[in-house]
């Protein structure tokens, strides 16, 4: 063995190949099967992708680096079930490019946030967290009240569709219009939105300013959708409780 190595050390390309081989095995064994083992991601029937407005909000969540302080992953641990709710399923982030599971909880987990607070509260909190939670150390985001740029939404949905997210042609084509429509429940466009996205989805003015479509609208719509894209985790927990 030692002799073998003694000789390997003299051949630079030999070392290169040996390093590549040694450093590939682990990754291949752990990653490739995640695409093949069916149990890894079991898509529930009721799982829906984000609407254009929510998707825009998600991009803002990423842009502002919220993931640096907030995880979106309830781990399979008793106290987390107690504090946050049902554990997260792989399926819940199946359409998430990229996933936002996070690695630090300076603030609380957000995986079960949807509909926990009102839109008004989110707006107040994001504009000045310490106005509603005096002990908060979260930064303020007053600039979110600026108009939302919907220019990239159509391309965005189309790109995601290419990556396997189930958006249909009509949804892609109407993406910018639907982003606006989702914040205008009484407008005529709202009907088209319901037709394309269904009746279950929150359709309201999220930022308290019905006249304008702002980044706040998008971010709050996204926050209200967290944990609400499928009921599967709740069904699973209920089944577990039943099995008791």
């Amino acid at each position: 063995m030692l002799k073998l190595h003694y000789n390997l050390e003299k051949v630079s390309m030999g070392l290169v190949v040996a390093i590549i081989v040694a450093a590939s095995i682990g990754g291949i064994v752990e990653i490739a099967p995640l695409f093949r083992i069916d149990e890894t991601v079991q898509l529930p029937e009721d799982l829906r992708p984000n609407t254009p407005l929510e998707l825009a909000g998600r991009e803002i969540f990423i842009r502002e680096g919220c993931y640096a302080c907030h995880s979106q992953m309830v781990r399979s641990l008793g106290d987390e079930l107690d504090r946050y709710g049902p554990y997260s399923l792989a399926a819940e982030s199946a359409y998430d490019h990229p996933m936002l599971w996070g690695s630090k909880r300076t603030g609380p987990d957000l995986a079960r946030l949807g509909e926990k607070y009102s839109d008004d509260w989110h707006v107040a909190h994001l504009i000045d967290p310490r106005a509603v939670v005096p002990a908060s150390i979260m930064p303020a985001y007053p600039w979110l009240m600026r108009p939302l740029d919907t220019g990239l939404l159509r391309d965005g949905l189309a790109t995601l569709a290419r990556l396997g997210v189930p958006y249909d042609e009509a949804q892609i084509a109407a993406a910018p219009a639907d982003a606006l429509a989702q914040s205008r429940p009484d407008s005529t466009e709202a009907e088209g939105f319901i037709e394309r996205w269904g009746e279950e989805i929150a359709l309201r003015d999220f930022d308290g300013d019905p006249a304008r479509l702002t980044e706040m609208d998008a971010l709050v719509a996204y926050l209200q959708s967290l944990g609400r894209l499928t009921d599967a985790p709740y069904r699973l927990m209920a089944a577990e409780e039943g099995a008791q």
Binding site: V29, E30, A32, P33, R36, I37, D38, E39, R75, S76, L77, G78, D79, E80, L81, D82, R83, G85, Y87, R112, E115, K116, Y117, S118, D119, D120, W121, A124, H125, A131, V132, V133, P134, A135, A202, Y234, M237, E240, Q244
Partner: protein
Amino acid sequence: MSAHRDQPPEVDPVTGYDTTGHDWNGIKELNTPFPRIVIWALVITFVYSVIAWVLLPAFPWGRDYTRGLLGLDQRELAVEQFRKMDAVRQDWLPRFADADYAALAGDEALMAQAMPAAARLFQDNCAACHGATGDGGPGFPVLSDGYWLWGGDPETIAETLRYGINATHPDTRIAEMPSFNWMSREERAAMASHVAGMLDGRSDPDSAAGVSFVENCAACHGEAGEGGLDIGAPSLIDEAVIYGQDRASVMRTLFDGRAGVMPAWEGRLSEAEIGLLALYVSGLSRADAEDAQ
């Protein structure tokens, strides 16, 4: 490349080991054999790993993976942990589910047990809006002052919690203050002054605004603005205020209308936790009153 040959090994005076004979810009290496302890450490950690691989789910295998002899599943384990703590809570928590609140409140031992838990639940779920001590915030009602929109007995509070107000729950309570933007600006301004004055009794019920109040507002807020008609319309003659009762705030309320949202907690909190919180919240105002004395 062959210009340079290995040098003969030399003995290092400090350790007594030979060098390998290589020399890179003065750097040499000793040919010290593997220390035993490294071999042992490798063996021990490997044995540890093999045991783990045998007992736990470990390696992928076709479209499946090895399950491990213990047959563990982290989700089942989590639910088990959760149930274990839940079992401890079974001693007292379920009593809050369908309860005779008066009896519960009388059971001092039980309350000593339950109130810290209620306080934690309140901090994690309610304090964001109602404040850490229930003293409200801009747009969110005070819970500790003894004035209620829907009623301060635990039964009513529990119902409010379960279904929410203007929430997404199908049985939600509805409390909408319609917009009076059809009024002229002058009319709204007069009305705002009138309402702002109701707090200290400065307003005149016989003025034009007073008459308009009875016509337009009394249905919800009561003839004298006393509220309490079980439709969530606040009293306008006490200092319990959600949005502010100064002229400017009332102007806004009149123009935009209001429909504050209190989320529904059914589903997120258990029936027992809702009961527990209801008692806790009803106690907030009592605690406040006692403080005041």
